[in-house]
């Protein structure tokens, strides 16, 4: 049995990091030199993969990521791209983007030729492509815990507003111990977590600072 498995040489199946788990450590060659995940301790990080350099959807995404980079940095958040291309390909591509579109890409990009980081983060979807990373987004907090994971297929470019919105929502949750409702945007009312006791639930219904429909559904303005 063991022999059969060895002979068939099934590819190693690695699971995705889970939300709430420590982000897998890595050391990688990037367009900004060798970087380790631990270099980002204390900052939030958007680690995202793209299928390939010099492709049109990825080019639009890179320009869009660059456009939100200043906003992200104001939110103590860094950007780190990744694809299974060489560092020279990355450098040629970002130079091309600057030359052809006038956009200077300022964030680093991992050259993951041996797929080490892509496999650790489950960025390759073999049914879609075994040689390219899918459009994965890992939002990692300042303590290096995975807080959100978003996946898009090769054909669909990502939505930057949603990435900004998720980070803002997570940071607001951390700061105020609240949750955020569907389509929440900064400035909207937030959800107060339900009280775990009957007494707390009854008191909450009397709280004038809250807008409660029922004990489990209370909102407030921050």
């Amino acid at each position: 049995m063991t022999e059969n498995i060895q002979n068939n040489q099934e590819p190693e199946v690695r699971s995705l990091p889970r939300i709430g788990s420590k982000a897998p450590a890595f050391e990688a060659v990037t367009t900004h030199g060798t970087l380790k995940l631990e270099d980002y301790k204390g900052s939030w990080l958007v680690l995202f993969s793209h299928p390939a350099d010099f492709t049109p959807v990825c080019t639009t995404e890179f320009m869009a990521f660059q456009e939100i980079y200043p906003q992200l940095r104001e939110m103590n958040t860094e950007l780190l791209g990744l694809s299974i291309d060489s560092v020279h390909s990355h450098i040629a591509w970002v130079r091309n983007i600057e030359e052809k579109f006038g956009v200077k890409i300022e964030f680093p990009i991992i050259a993951d030729l041996n797929k080490d980081v892509a496999q650790k983060y489950g960025m390759i979807m073999p049914e879609e492509s075994s040689t390219e990373a899918s459009r994965a987004v890992f939002i990692i907090d300042d303590k290096q815990v995975v807080r959100a994971i978003i996946y898009y297929p090769l054909s669909t470019g990502r939505n930057m507003d949603e990435i900004l919105r998720v980070i803002k929502a997570l940071q607001t949750t951390d700061r105020h111990n609240i949750a955020t409702p569907a389509n929440w945007k900064e400035g909207d009312k937030v959800i107060v977590p339900p009280s775990p006791t009957q007494e707390g639930a009854e008191e909450r219904m009397k709280d004038k600072d809250l807008e409660c429909v029922d004990f489990y559904f209370c909102k407030k303005q921050l």
Partner: protein
Amino acid sequence: MACIDDKGNLTATAKKILTAVKDQSLTAEEVASGTGLPLFKVRSSLRDMASMGFVIQEDDTYQLNEKAEKLLNRG
């Protein structure tokens, strides 16, 4: 090496960091806030420069290695 260019001179980032730790021993966080460089970049550059002997690391702080001072005046 990300801190040295193809002519053997320090990159602008490396120069900024070495200048910050020339006369004082600083943590990566202090260098980042003093220079305005992103913290991840300061950490990776300091690691590179410590491995090449440009800076001396003691616990969490870094200081310019006197022997590397002439590098700052080149290029």
